[in-house]
Amino acid sequence: METLIFEVGMALALITLTGLLSAKLRFSVIPFYILIGMAVGPHAPHFWIIDLRFIESSSFIEFMGRLGILFLLFYLGLEFSVARLLKSGKAIIVGGSFYVALNFISGLLLGWITDLPIKETLVVCGIMTSSSTAIVAKVLVDLKRTANPETEIIMGMIMFDDLFIAVHISILTGLILSGASSFWSVLLISLTALAFIVVFLFVGRKIIKYIDFALNIKSSELFLLMIMTLLFLVAGFSETLHVAEAIGALMIGLVLGESRHVKRIEQQVLPFRDFFGALFFFSFGLTIEPASLGGAVGMTLIAVLLTLVGNLGAGMLAGRISGISPKASLNVGFTLVSRGEFSIIMANIGKAGGLMASIQSFAVLYVLILAVLGPLLTKESKWIYQSYEQLRKRLRRSRG
């Protein structure tokens, strides 16, 4: 126990260094965190107190990663607004449904090709359907594309996607984590979970006035304590009803998103989200044995191809409905390709439910490839579009 703090310090040093490196390379940081986690871990070299296997601290790092999920989803909930989603227009609703459907069908297809059992297939569907809100928002800001007309469509579709994933996770946790075996008991658990979510959100809307009143605190310390209390109690309690704690965090975020103090909450929670979020990706990497990834390569490559095709289709459709240029529509598809936190949460649920280990390997490879490929494609979309245009002209000329 005596080297616990030092080990955590070492982990943070590694994370910070990779973060700096990724900033230098002007690259999305998330895959880097996962990779550095994979690079160290049980098989890493060690001498004296420099032990990169993180033996003593592994359970603590894992716990911090768990907190990372809570903060990531809590913040997402704060930013989210169902009312806004409903107002956001036809392009987003249709494009978003199409996007979710295409990716989900891709997952079913992949499960069918590789002969997976039903539970595993549903987890794969979840992994493939969930865009990374964190990466997408960051890429758009970094590439200075926030002013583009397609940005509203992208963020709207992501919101739609998040909502779908939240529901999907809620149903899946009932199916996988409850240990129920008969169809009826699974149904009962899933329905209980859904009912809890609906009632919670409904009641939350009703009592937000009183929460607002209670949050009228000058002291920032007490304010923060109150927010944290709500977050941890709701997330923890959800788990007892087989609603994943991540979803609990999202729910309390949704409720507090309607609060008058939402800006202040966001300001207070943001540093926690950034800090523990980085540890979440790192700790995910720590659990991965690089040698075990070989078996999932074929499956991952098929999945990446399916995802690319599905995203381009959904992006084109959403772009066409909203009347933006084909070039901007291409941006929609490419930007949405990035995968990250949600896919990992999905994979972790699969792992907790004792599903096939290959699902975990698949998730790692899939997230790594698309967390790198997504931002790259987004960056080069202009060039890709121009090449495509030239190719089309040339083809026309050769025919003409």
Partner: protein, 164 residues
């Protein structure tokens, strides 16, 4: 005026303005208080010509210059605490406003809306810092007001209708 406002969840708010001179201006207010100002191509809405990123303080100064105000509020060192959810706005009184001719005390502004009038700038640039209850509203003056967003909305209603 063709001004569109939209929400970018996870990023911030976006304002697009098609100016009367035919230019496309987009301002994005990030959640972390940064502001990006984009000058977009007028014919190709997804082509950026140039952009500037401002921090919170710069943005306030620029907005004051754009609004033609020479009055520059001196913020305290620690803005977050002083300006937790406080908004400072400049409101120009149109001749149509029902509050014209009334006194500040008569409308009982602070009690009914919670907002505060920090200063009044007349058309000829004379300034009344912290005007008293006896001050009478005249058309065309600019009020510098502070309060929470909700309070300011109430205040605008009060100024326009002369009563709530």
């Amino acid at each position: 005026m063709d001004l569109r406002e939209s929400e970018l969840p996870g990023i911030g708010r976006k304002y697009s303005l098609r100016t009367r001179s035919g230019e496309q201006l987009v301002i994005v207010v990030h959640n972390d208080e940064r502001r990006d100002i984009f000058h977009m191509d007028a014919d190709e809405p997804d082509e950026m010509r140039s952009m500037v990123t401002l921090d919170d303080e710069e943005a306030r100064v620029v907005s004051a210059i754009l609004a033609g105000i020479t009055y520059k509020p001196k913020f305290l060192e620690n803005q977050e605490i002083a300006l937790d959810s406080l908004v400072i706005e400049w409101i120009r009184l149109e001749p149509l406003s029902k509050c014209v001719g009334k006194r500040i005390g008569e409308l009982d502004i602070r009690k009914t809306t919670g907002a505060t009038i920090l200063a009044v700038v007349e058309k000829d640039k004379t300034k009344h810092i912290n005007p008293g209850a006896e001050y009478v509203f005249t058309p065309g003056v600019t009020l510098v007001v502070a309060g929470e967003r909700i309070q300011l909305n109430q205040l605008k209603k009060l100024l326009l209708n002369g009563a709530l």
